[in-house]
Symmetry: C2
DNA sequence: ATTCCTGCAAATCATTTGCATTACC
DNA sequence: GGTAATGCAAATGATTTGCAGGAAT
């Protein structure tokens, strides 16, 4: 019951919010843009406006439910935070996104923040490249 | 003589391009947005349109003269590439940007790209945080 | 002279916002 | 029933583009 997640976040349980949360869970392996979500909702016969999708996503971000990435090419993409801390490696040809987590890098990042006298709040690491064809 | 840099990049040596390149060199310690550059040009009595600034910056990026960052908050910022590889740590309160280079991180990044079978072309690492007041 | 470049204004794209209506508790 | 959320359309902000006139080789 994800209605509880919404309540806990101080958000009224409304149809748009529930549907969007469901979609994010169903597509937990992907990184969806506001427009992607809007299209998926339309496909599901849901009559939810694009503006609402943006509003809900922004609220979810503030509530710590999703996190927003900028990657490249205009549109921001979103994913559930519940998946845990990780960074991304994206293919500049296909747009394919894979995830990774490297403790060594994370440790160094903390150290660097420390050295620069920053209270670290967050970080963003994206590796760009071209995925090699797997030699079948 | 930066005119040569332009010629080498296959770009005709024109006043806007020279002026913008000069500005970037004069402000090599900063990260300027297209609008910042436009304003600086106006201050210098140069009559150069904002559209041209965008066009020139895009060409410079394609030519490998500058690199574009997205940091946070709408506008992209640019800096000369000649300064060498480095990443950024930015203060979410003040917008202050500092730079760093960490060989350990870089090495790990290469390794991760390798593990994921990516031909790495680039990476982006930004640490966000709040700069501590230096205790004077 | 020819081709590439520029300035301006209008166009585009992603995202946000005002406001009347509607849905939750 | 009252307040907060939604949908639509219009507004915004950053960046791009079409086109007529101008500069560089």
């Amino acid at each position: 019951m994800e209605a509880n997640d919404l309540k806990k976040a101080g958000l009224k349980v409304t149809l748009p919010r529930v549907r969007i949360l469901e979609l994010l869970e169903q597509h937990a392996d992907q990184h969806l843009s506001a427009e992607d979500i809007y299209r998926l909702l339309l496909d599901n016969e849901e009559d939810i406006g694009l503006a609402t999708v943006y509003r809900v996503l922004t609220q979810f971000e503030a509530a710590g439910i999703v996190c927003r990435h900028q990657f490249e090419g205009g549109k921001a993409v979103f994913e559930l935070i519940s998946k845990g801390e990780h960074d991304h490696i994206v293919c500049v040809k296909t747009g394919l996104v894979e995830e990774f987590h490297d403790p060594v890098i994370f440790e160094r990042i903390q150290k660097i923040a420390e050295e620069h006298e920053f209270e670290m709040t967050d970080h963003s690491l994206v590796i760009f490249g071209i995925k090699r064809k797997s030699k079948a």
